[in-house]
């Protein structure tokens, strides 16, 4: 089993993929179990807990990161979000939901890779769109110049 905790640089409380279910070149699927104990539910919102949309984006970006680094375990390069494109949120994610997170490569050019991303709960799409990830090169940390 692929361990997201050891593959991604993220750690508690910012790891949004609990388990990688499928991972191959260009595509991957993982799950995130959303519990009532998530720290963000304390304020979002006290009376009406809803998973923040930006954290669903984060989960999809982490899944994209796993796809990006698949087969390149030896390289531990930092990856940044370069673009979040046309993301739609279709229904709220609440405690008890299991997020199924899917990322698929569309195009790689230079240090940038575009992914089609999707998050589902019980086969219903809760969010979908595109994310571009940029791999950091040691000599250049300016995202506007990465390619």
């Amino acid at each position: 089993m692929i361990d997201a905790l050891n593959t991604l640089p993220h750690s508690y409380p910012f790891c949004f993929i609990d388990r990688v279910v499928e991972l191959k070149k260009g595509k991957g699927m993982g799950i995130k179990n959303v519990t009532i104990n998530e720290p963000f539910f304390q304020g979002h919102f006290e009376e009406n807990p809803i998973m923040p949309g930006v954290l669903i984006i984060e989960a999809m970006a982490q899944m994209a990161g796993l796809v990006l680094h698949y087969g390149k375990e030896e390289e531990k390069k930092t990856t940044f979000i370069a673009q979040v494109k046309d993301i739609k949120f279709k229904r709220p994610v609440i405690p008890g939901d299991q997020l199924k997170v899917i990322a698929e490569t569309i195009l790689t050019f230079s240090s940038l890779t575009r992914f089609s991303v999707k998050a589902l709960v019980e086969e219903n799409v809760v969010a979908e769109g595109e994310i571009v990830l940029a791999i950091e090169s040691p000599t250049n940390r300016d995202v506007s110049r990465v390619s």
């Binding site: 370069a82 673009q83 050019f109 230079s110 940038l112 571009v132 995202v143 506007s144 390619s147």
Partner: protein, 84 residues
């Protein structure tokens, strides 16, 4: 061949959501830099995708992009050369 240039300009404005009309882009307007359209590297990815999907030409790497993505003129030359 002006038709191809108009199509490229339309593709650039549409895909990059530029707040200008395609006619405002001259054939030799630099795509990058303060004296041109001021595009950035993330726009390059979009242009590469657009040229591939809509014009059937592939730009493989950064060196190629630097040679081709200079202006509408240079893109036109590349498309004409590639497609004969």
């Amino acid at each position: 061949m002006d038709n191809i240039k108009d199509k490229i300009k339309e593709m650039i404005v549409r895909r990059l959501k530029l707040k200008m009309s395609p006619q405002e882009i001259k054939d030799d307007t630099p795509l990058f830099g303060p004296n041109g359209l001021g595009l950035d590297s993330i726009d390059v990815l979009e242009l590469v995708a657009g040229l591939q999907k809509e014009f059937g030409v592939v730009i493989n790497d950064k060196a190629m992009a630097e040679r081709i993505l200079i202006s509408v003129n240079t893109i036109t030359n590349f498309i004409e050369k590639t497609k004969g």
